[in-house]
Subunit: 340 residues, 2 copies
């Protein structure tokens, strides 16, 4: 029931996901009176969808704390709960991000050694793709949070992206050691000096995201969210300029027609819907957040992200990796996340 | 003497600036043995340039504190000092940003009511241009700093950009009041509730920068710097994709040839060199920082920015405006910058 165009785009998204991933089954939570008729339009979904009725839904402007108090019968809560109960392998929602994070954290709980889950997303780069976290779950982060994000991102890059030795960078305003705030400086020292089996590249700058300098970009949720949306906005304004350019003369129009197949590839490669599906890392279970304003194509991609995480056994692998990182030992004062 | 290709690009930049702005005179500070021969190549500069020798220069990796202690004979310090003494109307440097800010702050001092100067720069948008500050002078900002940035940006937009009622937005991770960290929340309340003659739009998000939602974007130096470089990196990777696309087939190549004049306009409009020249706002004097890696074209634009600030009497106007904002009254506790 979440997102700007729910439940319509959710059902259309499930239908599209079904054509790509025919083996996946869906538990749908929402208002039967609204979802039922939409489902009835697609007979092919009958065998793979189970609809569970609830007439409560989390609104887009609901405060997370309020949802935690009163939202137990909401479609969002029931969907997350299905993951906790083992009825579902993961949850996908296009609803209120803050509420989804709060409910997921409350119901699924964080993994041992993780204080706060992070939102991770994929950015297109000239070299391929880079995972960036946190994208907005944690507005204020200390160095311990950043180190935990580095570990979660590293495990994700190995387990899901299949990279053998992913490189990690901390987003900063310069590459020199003396640049930045205390959190990034301390986190860098910890990652550099710790015996962790992590390939820490050091500090990177905003332009390194698009350049694909590292495989995993670690940042606080405020900066990461601004970087994500600035990149999206920049692509939008650049493509607006391009469109205007191609309309500028008949020669340019003709040029556009000839180059269109190639240009469409660029468009596809930078389409934000392709990168839809932000992953909540650090939880006992898989939760994926779809952009609220996306369409069926974007929602199907978010479903694909969740299926990918399940297929790669991410939950089990990150648990094992975290044990390896001895995150359980939380005694050390300078870096409680790593310990001795 | 500052920047990656100094002093060559500085002299070439001055030469280019001279063709655009023939009435401007230049005081050049640097090593005569290196700068002299470069100047000699351009007889047209003889009448408008005065070279003052010093064999000291601030290195790119020098710590600002170290420059403040030992850099009084450096070309950077002497150039800033010329502004303080009234010998120059403004200073332009492609050198060490942190050192230039520290020296400018020490020598020129901040304007009454301003705690910390900010670095402001222009971003291209679909609607034209937007000024963003701070771009990296202040890694940690409290709400008072942000409110002062809003005022400095507002005055800049009126005095230099000629906007009658510029709109101000604070960069955040959502437009709702409950989003963000304490600094942005408190600054927003102050700007909203204060009797300041400011058109405060409220919170904006990263994508609003490129959309040109507001005329002035206010943010802390960490976030602003990351946003600036992320936008630059995104343009770079998008244009790399485009180039690959146009090389993809002979049809695309032909299309490119036909559309090239129009595409060049897009390239020019998004060329980071066009936006070169970050302004240090909040000082008793005009200081402009050129990107260290720019070329003569970029450096000439930075000179143009400084000349623009001088021509619009920015120093005098911001002083008057600040009086109007009664910033001098620093007694109030909730908002020391505004006062009663």
């Amino acid at each position: 029931m979440g997102g700007d165009h729910a439940p319509g785009i959710v059902i259309d998204g499930v239908r599209l996901a079904h054509t790509r991933l025919p083996h996946v089954h869906y538990l749908l939570f929402g208002d039967e009176a609204r979802v039922g008729p939409l489902l009835d339009r697609y007979p092919e979904l009958r065998g793979v969808c189970t609809l569970r009725h609830t007439d409560e839904a989390v609104s887009n402007d609901a405060k997370p704390s309020q949802v935690l108090r009163t939202g137990r019968r909401s479609s969002m809560w029931l969907a997350v709960d299905a993951v906790a109960k083992g009825e579902a392998a993961g949850v996908v929602s296009a609803g209120n991000t803050g509420a989804l994070m709060a409910v997921s954290k409350f119901v699924l709980r964080t993994l041992p050694g993780i204080d706060r889950p992070a939102i991770a997303g994929m950015f297109p780069t000239t070299r391929g793709e880079t995972v960036v976290l946190d994208l907005g779950a944690n507005v204020d982060c200390d160095s311990t949070n950043l180190v935990q994000f580095a570990i979660m991102g590293e495990v994700f890059a190995r387990a899901v992206l299949g990279l053998e030795q992913p490189t990690i960078g901390i987003l900063n305003i310069g590459s020199e050691d003396l640049k930045g705030n205390d959190a990034v400086k301390t986190a860098a020292i910890t990652l550099r000096e710790s015996p962790l089996p992590i390939r820490f590249h050091g500090f990177i700058e905003g332009n390194d995201i698009g350049a694909g300098t590292v495989d995993v970009v670690v940042t606080d949720g405020f900066t990461g969210n601004v970087a994500l949306k600035t990149a999206e906005g920049t692509i939008k304004f650049y493509s607006t300029f391009l469109k205007e350019g191609f309309r500028h003369s008949w020669m340019a129009r003709l040029g556009y027609l000839l180059a269109r197949p190639a240009l469409n590839k660029v468009k596809i490669r930078t389409d934000p819907r392709r990168y839809n599906g932000a992953m909540f890392l650090g939880l006992n279970g898989i939760a994926v957040k779809s952009h609220g304003g996306t369409d069926a194509f974007g929602f199907a991609n978010a479903v694909g992200v969740a299926v990918d995480l399940v297929a790669h056994g991410y939950s089990e692998r990150i648990r094992k990796e975290l044990e390896r990182f001895t995150l359980a030992d939380r005694e050390s004062t300078t870096c409680p996340a790593i310990g001795g």
